[in-house]
């Protein structure tokens, strides 16, 4: 046996203490996930209602002209990327960042608003143009954060510095599956006219343009808020799974090490016996 029993013992102890940490983190994430999901259940109806409202208005009336629905080619893009502040959550952060890179055009045509330290680290290191960064909000996003982000983004869009706003967040599909999603916030894509839509007359007070001018920023804001809340739930879910896997792996390693340990112990005993027997034999 190459390693002595004492070495193996030490290794087992070390793996075991790691396991205790990952186990604790798993429990913490489970608790946080529950809270994040409760929050998501509360905010989801608002988020969905705003989205349907905007889609309904745009699909019902195609004559509306607004600066938020434009057909001009997209050159400069603003990316709003949501990640966490802390790691140890599997592919959660890396997937969001990768998704952005996949979509991104040339560097000088992209601007960023990062949410979470991981996104900041990733994009700042590569010297990308960061318009704004938000840190330490991803676990507990508030509506006010979403309106700040939306305000910065919409201002850039209105000034013409960017032609499109892409929002990268992690959709919470279930506790075991989170999907990194990219959503185009602006310009809003006109939904296709469905066959069933009859030319319904909708009254806009005071005017369609003014109503949309009010509603669309609201839509951007609430979509960002919904995305932040969903991402925070996804983060906890991703971390819980990552930690669960880590705990399982630690258990496997401990099991294996214990086997080695027993083998080594057995070998030592056998060796001792044969030494004694050998010694006794020699004395005869």
């Amino acid at each position: 046996m190459a390693s002595s029993t004492r070495d193996i013992k030490r290794k087992i102890r070390s793996v075991n203490s790691t396991k205790q940490i990952t186990k604790a983190m798993e429990l913490v994430s489970t608790a946080k996930l529950r809270r994040a999901r409760e929050r998501m259940d509360i905010t989801q109806p608002y988020f969905e209602t705003v989205q349907t409202a905007v889609q309904d208005i745009l699909s019902a009336d195609h004559s509306i002209r607004t600066e938020y629905v434009s057909d001009k080619p997209i050159e400069n893009t603003l990316y709003i990327v949501v990640t966490s502040d802390r790691g140890l959550c599997g592919g959660y952060n890396i997937n969001a960042i990768k998704k952005t890179f996949e979509h991104m055009g040339p560097k000088e045509k992209s601007k960023f608003i990062t949410i979470g330290r991981k996104a900041y680290d990733a994009f700042a290191k590569l010297d990308f143009e960061l318009v704004d960064t938000f840190m330490y909000i991803s676990e507990h996003p508030e509506y006010i954060h979403a309106s700040q982000i939306a305000k910065t983004a919409i201002d850039l869009f209105k000034k013409g510095e960017v032609d499109a706003i892409q929002f990268v967040y992690t959709r919470f599909a279930s506790t075991i599956s989170q999907v990194t999603t990219m959503l185009q916030l602006l310009p809003i894509e006109r939904p296709e006219l469905s066959d069933t839509v009859q030319e319904e007359f909708i009254n806009y007070e005071p005017s369609p343009e003014e109503v949309l001018g009010y509603i669309i920023p609201k839509y951007v804001e609430s979509t960002i808020f919904g995305g932040l809340v969903e991402s925070s739930a996804s983060e906890q879910a991703a971390r819980r799974i990552a930690m669960e896997n880590a705990s399982d792996n630690a258990e496997d390693i401990i099991e294996e090490l214990e086997l080695y340990y027993n083998q080594a112990r057995q070998a030592a005993i056998t060796q001792e016996i044969s030494e004694i027997v050998g010694g006794a034999e020699a004395l005869k």
Binding site: A53, Y204, E210
Partner: protein
């Protein structure tokens, strides 16, 4: 008794109201607007103000709400507002404090333009809450 329609009031923190009512009166940017059954389809922004919903017993229940918008279509009426609370829920101390804070911020005035706008909106909300509480209690 008139016919009823379905009304949903949704805020980011909760489903504020969901149910049937005969009449609701809301404050749009153009003025107060009463909605009865079978109202024509409408979309309108709401301003900081009040909202009244007619209850089963014919009385009106008042609520303070901040800006948002209302959509009326054939099947239901949806109101999306940043915040809403029934008159009896209004936290007077908090509103007074918010009013003071906002006033201070406006007085100091050296901050960025956006902060002033925000403080003004906060002030308006606080005053609205205080007024609602005083009048409707």
């Amino acid at each position: 008794m008139g016919s009823k329609f379905k009304l949903n009031v949704v805020t980011p923190d909760r489903d504020f109201f969901s149910g049937e009512t005969e009449m609701a009166i809301v404050r749009t940017t153009e003025g107060d607007l009463g909605i009865l059954y079978d109202h024509e389809p409408l979309v309108a922004p709401l301003r900081i103000g009040s909202m009244r919903i007619k209850m089963e017993d014919g009385s009106f229940k008042w609520a303070a709400c901040s800006s948002g918008f209302i959509t009326v279509n054939d099947s239901d009426v949806t109101m999306l507002v940043d915040s809403a609370e029934w008159v009896e829920e209004i936290d007077m101390d908090r509103a007074l404090e918010a009013k003071k804070r906002a006033e201070e911020r406006i007085r100091e005035g050296d901050a960025k333009e956006i902060d002033i706008a925000r403080a003004q909106a906060a002030l308006e909300r606080a005053i609205n809450r205080i007024k609602m509480r005083d009048v409707r209690k």
